[in-house]
Assembly symmetry: C2
Homo-oligomer: 378 residues x 2
Amino acid sequence: MKFIIQREPLMESVQNVIKAISSRTTIPILSGIKIEATNNGIKLTGSDSDISIESFIPIEENGIVYVEQIETGSVVLQAKYFPEIIRKLPDKTVELEVDEKLKVTIRSGSAEFSLNGQDAEEYPMLPQIHNEDSFDLPSDMLKDLIRQTAFAISTLETRPILTGVNVKAIDNNLYFVATDSHRLASRQIPFENQTLGFSSVVIPGKSLNELNKIIGDTQENVNICIMQNQIMFQTKNVYFLSRLLDGNYPETSRLIPEQSKTIVYVSTNDLLRAIDRASLLAKENKNNVVKLVTKPNNQLEVSSNSPEIGRVLEEVTAKHINGEELKISFSSKYMLDALKAIDSDQVKIEFTGAMRPFIIRPTENDQILQLILPVRTY
Amino acid sequence: MKFIIQREPLMESVQNVIKAISSRTTIPILSGIKIEATNNGIKLTGSDSDISIESFIPIEENGIVYVEQIETGSVVLQAKYFPEIIRKLPDKTVELEVDEKLKVTIRSGSAEFSLNGQDAEEYPMLPQIHNEDSFDLPSDMLKDLIRQTAFAISTLETRPILTGVNVKAIDNNLYFVATDSHRLASRQIPFENQTLGFSSVVIPGKSLNELNKIIGDTQENVNICIMQNQIMFQTKNVYFLSRLLDGNYPETSRLIPEQSKTIVYVSTNDLLRAIDRASLLAKENKNNVVKLVTKPNNQLEVSSNSPEIGRVLEEVTAKHINGEELKISFSSKYMLDALKAIDSDQVKIEFTGAMRPFIIRPTENDQILQLILPVRTY
């Protein structure tokens, strides 16, 4: 194998595939990056067996030549050193050559690295996906769906299914739902594709967070293909494969209260900043608890109390407060996470009493729903 | 005590004084910030008893009013929460008020914090310095002196005196010298002040690194005053006090070879980048060792070898190589530190054989000297 490649696209591809590589892998060859040279270009692969990422550098794109003088072949190189080596090479081009003893020589300008490679035959084959049940989502929308829900997954392995995001197609909507059983984040989008064979899958939150780092904030489509136990996200040059979580995701729709006793309309940012300040002293509490009390004249009192340190109290002027008076306590972290995911200047918060879950939505649409269970302090 | 203060200068002062505060202090009150309101302005103090920092906010400066409605007094507030509280307050001004029970109320916009204060009478008195033996250095020059030497201090407590930087006045020069006994960094500047009572002191490296973060990269003077076991650095509104290290600093001048067998003139950046690349594979070695070999036609061969990972080899074209052929090995980290401190496009490196210390200087002056002991590998 031999080729000469532009350093910039090589660097970018390496950065993509190393996101799948774990230094704690139990399969030694997976601590490496697989490099394949074909007549079409160079393919890099990284995998921890849960997530696999392939990144392709074509020989030419938009009239720019990326790869030259290809002699086909493949090798696996230690991922620990390769990215830093590529980043620090002196020249704009990099020559990579493998001899029959799997010695890899990397040349750039006056620098020459000689690294011990491994046999690419030993690298596991990635599962093949047949693009039958596939659909497209714009990249920026997929990023929104992840950002607005994946933070609410459980980090505990006691209920593994909750460490994933439930993606389901119901009627003409696609839903992303995550819950750690103390709060829930849900986002829905209109979804016309009725020919899909899938109705509900659970994608590991970790996979979605890595995917989110790789795909761009553009309107380019990501092709999504779901198989029995795998999901594939494909962009022009990146192929991202994740296993799905086994098991049934709990039915979450019945958690959402259907009626409310107190409705608050308030500026997202005013409330967010007041709760952020109140949380400064709440950090000493185990649950970061802040209190919210409705007051006359559309005032919301946000407060927190840590006997050893002190107390913080702030009034936020709401746009409207409708319904019963309310005193409620909740985790400031959950509230801050939810408000940051709302993506709207104004939020509508619906309470059903101090001990019942409450829901937060943008005032102007129902596509985003954040639900939080209160904390018993009164 | 009560005052209303602009949030920005208060924030800046808090950031300065917390650099002296350690969360692991054995004197509980030193985990707090002392706040004093006088008729001239507000003084903040932080201390870990080795370093003490005072920062003063005058009631007015350059026609801008910083502090208003002062009622004099003092209090000590927990440093753990205060900086974040000030940073996140909603308004441009902050009102701070202490009642007779040492309850501190902080108001800004609609936010109100109520914190438990401590009695400022319990805060230790800082040593008083009499400005007798004082001299001035421009702030940017002091920063250079620190940056070019303090990295070479020892981090081991086996020889405590080496954890400091030796500052000495000899003839018409002021020297900053640091060594960990494997390498040495020295910077000298012309120094006319002959009336000083001090000839040599050792300032803890930690103190100088904290000082470096506080003083600006400007030509404003820093007044430096040395007492028996303390040194004080004073700028317009900051007063930085550090203890000095006890004991005699070793005589380092005899470590510096007086003659050399091989002299290399080379671009600082070319050599630095080649050694940086070679060090990528050298990281596995305990000492980060790279090799340097002189070759014909002014070539320097930089290389490193890690049997398990691979090998890196690079030729750097020197401007001149004079004298004997040379093969030498050294710590890439020490070499990178030294080259970064040189502040010159071209360096002159003087070797006296593979087992003798070598020195690195800018080609155009002798004010900076970096010395490194080689590693025995040949």
